[in-house]
């Protein structure tokens, strides 16, 4: 029989924290084709930004994503600063790195937990989220909120971190590092984990490039591209080497994220050691005019912002390309040939953020 069946995967599914539907065309147990249906959480935020003042937009932009909100605001602020020729104070640039890397840490720990949950390793899931909570607590203690921390503004940051708090951050990340070392052993060596991930969803270097994969997806396939190496914020003054794995399977992508956790801890410590004294923001004068593109590396990969202003208080256009938007086509190409049982793991290894994708 060559009859094909269509199985809808999602929008409600235990492994999906957000609504994404994939229509899987199956032949027996194998996937032949996958067609996504998105649009469940489209909020029209790009349109909303056209009605708000450009300084207010920071708050709108942050609400695009519930995980990497700081990075979204960072991309927007950096773009506007370039456009208006604002020189950001040094201290603010380092503060941005510290908060940015804390965000990466909590995002990756969240993802590790979800991954463990996806293959049914409940205690590992709890362990990863338990470690994440420490990061969330310093986020709240320094910035005022757990996730949408609202510390970026055009021209610098809204809050400063006191020296005592900086010392505390070092303590906490050292503590988290020990925790991660313990769960890393499980993630890397456990039989169940390996059985579900090694050799599944192999993405070759050529295909990753052709289909436009970004972030840990691309780095897991051997593409050493990390937008942070362009040296925005204070990354130019810190030691940074993109984390690369060459196998291109789910296991490699997980290892990239695990190693990026250590990299983030290292970057936070470097930034805290080097942070200069001084003001944290400069006032914004006038209105923006012209167009600009800004890129940052989010936990899930590269995000691109395009802004066009006309000299007024509101922007003409603000376009956001989030990393998941680029990774979904890659996922669609990767799925055919895999078993239905591997689909949850495959979807999770792109670290889907559907709210980001649809905005």
């Amino acid at each position: 029989m060559n009859g094909k069946t269509v199985i809808p995967f999602g929008p409600q599914h235990p492994v999906l924290p957000e609504p994404l539907q994939l229509k899987l065309v199956m032949q027996d147990e194998k996937i032949v084709e996958a067609i996504p249906a998105i649009g469940y959480v489209h909020r029209g935020l790009e349109k909303l930004t056209e009605t708000k003042e450009f300084t207010q937009n920071v708050f709108v932009i942050e609400r695009i994503c519930g995980i990497c909100s700081f990075k979204h605001a960072l991309a927007y602020c950096q773009g506007m600063e370039n456009l208006m020729g604002i020189e950001v104070p040094d201290r603010a640039r380092f503060l941005r790195v510290i908060w940015g890397e804390l965000h990466r840490m909590h995002s990756h720990l969240l993802w590790l937990g979800l991954l463990a949950d996806a293959f049914g390793f409940e205690s590992l899931f709890m362990q990863a989220w338990r470690d994440r909570e420490k990061v969330m607590d310093i986020m709240e203690a320094t910035a005022g909120s757990r996730v949408i921390i609202s510390t970026n503004q055009i021209g610098g940051t809204r809050r400063d971190i006191s020296p005592e708090m900086l010392a505390k951050i070092v303590d906490v990340v050292n503590d988290v590092k020990e925790d991660i070392e313990r769960v890393e052993k499980v993630f890397c060596n456990d039989y169940t984990v390996k059985h579900r991930m090694v050799g599944i969803g192999v993405l070759s270097k050529e295909n990753a490039k052709l289909w436009g994969a970004v972030g840990p997806m691309a780095r897991g396939s051997g593409i050493a591209e990390d937008v942070r190496t362009l040296g925005y914020a204070a990354y130019g003054e810190l030691d940074l080497e993109p984390v690369v794995e060459t196998d291109g399977d789910c296991y490699a992508r997980m290892k990239v994220r695990l190693r990026e956790l250590y990299q983030s801890i290292d970057l936070i410590k470097q930034a805290i050691a080097k942070i200069p004294e001084g003001p944290i923001n400069v006032p914004v004068k006038g209105n923006p005019n012209g167009e600009v593109i800004s890129r940052v590396e989010q936990p899930r990969g590269e995000a691109l912002y395009y802004m066009r202003a006309n000299g007024g208080k509101t922007l003409d256009r603000l376009r956001v390309r989030t990393p998941t938007f680029a990774n979904i086509p890659t996922l669609l190409k990767m799925l055919p040939g895999h078993h239905l049982a591997d689909v949850p793991i495959l979807i999770l290894t792109i670290d889907p953020c559907i709210s980001c994708t649809e905005r």
């Binding site: 998105i38 649009g39 052709l210 190496t229 167009e291 691109l304 938007f325 680029a326 086509p329 669609l332």
Partner: protein, 128 residues
């Protein structure tokens, strides 16, 4: 303000995109901007080892735009999105949602486009 932008005519779009593929560029995304005078700018962003290049075409609303998703599969989502939100007439997208990727039937056509006149009485306090 943006570096490396090439303005190209609509007819040569596919040729230029094909060139980009041959020279090893990665497709990042496309952006459409309504100029407010009935024309729409479409920018295609490419990247090679963190160097960006952009192609810009300026089209009229009714112009037929060829899809580049046959060359770069990654353009599928963005082309559907532009088609829906800006009302661009993009032909031959590999996966074509026919205007229902993000929007449902009840919504307005091309909500991001400038030229729509919204009757405030019906919709109640919609901006613009």
């Amino acid at each position: 303000m943006i570096e490396n932008v090439t303005n190209i005519p609509l007819e040569s779009l596919l040729g230029h995109v094909q060139d980009m593929l041959f020279s090893g560029y990665r497709f990042i995304t496309a952006t459409s901007v309504d100029n407010g005078d009935g024309t729409i700018d479409v920018l295609y962003h490419f990247d090679k080892e963190l160097e960006m290049k952009h192609l810009r075409i300026t089209v009229n609303k009714q112009d037929e735009i060829p899809s580049i998703s046959g060359i770069y599969f990654g353009a599928v989502l963005v082309e559907n999105e532009m088609k829906e939100l800006f009302g661009l007439n993009i032909k031959n997208i590999v996966i074509d949602y026919g205007g229902h990727m993000l929007l449902s039937d009840e919504e307005l056509d091309a909500p991001m486009s400038r030229q729509i006149t919204i009757v405030n009485k019906d919709k109640g306090g919609e901006p613009q």
